[in-house]
């Protein structure tokens, strides 16, 4: 399990040790289970990043917030 979770760190570029990164790259090429895990983690990460990163807040929400603050500041 630990190794499979390391793949998650690899996908997120959270592995600081270059030796471990190289080992991961090799495992992804050589080992079907690791490659499968890598593909799943990367697929979902890319999907969420590309489809949901730019959601806008409703127009006028900033004004509504400042009105709400002024009305409730002393409550």
């Amino acid at each position: 399990m630990e190794l499979l979770e390391e793949i998650t760190s690899y996908v997120d570029e959270e592995l600081k040790d270059q030796n471990i990164c190289c080992r991961m790259k090799k495992l992804i090429i050589d080992d079907y289970v690791i490659r499968n895990e890598y593909m799943i983690q990367k697929c979902i990460k890319d999907l969420l990043r590309t489809r949901f990163s730019c959601c806008k807040s409703p127009a006028g929400l900033d004004k509504k917030i400042f009105l709400y603050i002024s009305q409730n500041i002393n409550n």
Partner: protein, 204 residues
């Protein structure tokens, strides 16, 4: 708690408004996005964001200038969600991690073509279907996947404001993506976006 207007004079209050607007408002889209993903409802998200910004304004003197304001706002939002909203919000059906494990262990080399990952089998899914899959994740898993994959926070930042070890962030993220994969795979399969290789072999 003492009222802000009793502790700040008019000039100081105006200064706080100006600084708050400069620091906190630029993160409004991200904060709203996070609230929407947490509550799964536009009106609840709207209320949660207003409550978050009110609390942030009240305690703005506690915010250390030059540090990550977005992370600070997210932490306030998450605490507000836990304290005020989670009790009243109707939670959608949740994905059971045991089901995910069973599914995952049953993915065989000859059942799903790996090229589907590369060709993005989920590209034809609607945003609503992906949103639904996210909302069905258990809250702890939903939080980390939103913070990491949608908002782009590092493991350390997530660990800091969710108040869990970095290893737990990684573990939850790992599981959350697998749960999402299972949900989306089912949607994609139902719509015919994912074909099974040797599907006749399954009945053997």
């Amino acid at each position: 708690m003492r009222a802000i207007t009793n502790t700040l004079n008019d000039k100081e209050l105006q200064q706080r408004y100006a600084e708050f607007e400069k620091e906190a408002v630029p993160h409004l889209d991200a904060v709203y996005n996070f609230a929407l993903r947490m509550t799964g409802d536009e009106d609840d998200a709207d209320d949660l964001v207003q409550e978050t910004y009110l609390k942030a304004f009240r305690f703005f003197d506690k915010f250390e200038k030059g540090t990550n304001c977005k992370a600070w706002l997210f932490r306030i939002l998450k605490n507000s969600f836990i304290n005020d909203y989670r009790k009243t919000t109707k939670e959608p059906n949740k994905v059971d991690y045991d089901d995910v494990q069973n599914f995952y262990e049953n993915i065989k080399a000859d059942e799903v073509e790996t090229q589907h990952y590369e060709e993005d089998a989920f590209a034809n899914l609607l945003d609503d279907e992906i949103s639904k899959a996210i909302s069905e994740l258990p809250e702890d898993f939903r939080t980390v996947v939103i913070l990491s994959d949608i908002e782009g926070f590092t493991y350390e930042e997530i660990a800091d404001f969710v108040d869990i070890p970095v290893g737990t962030v990684r573990s939850r993220l790992h599981r959350a993506r697998k749960m999402l994969y299972v949900q989306l795979f089912d949607y994609a399969k139902d719509k015919g976006f994912v074909k099974k290789k040797n599907s006749s072999k399954k009945s053997d």
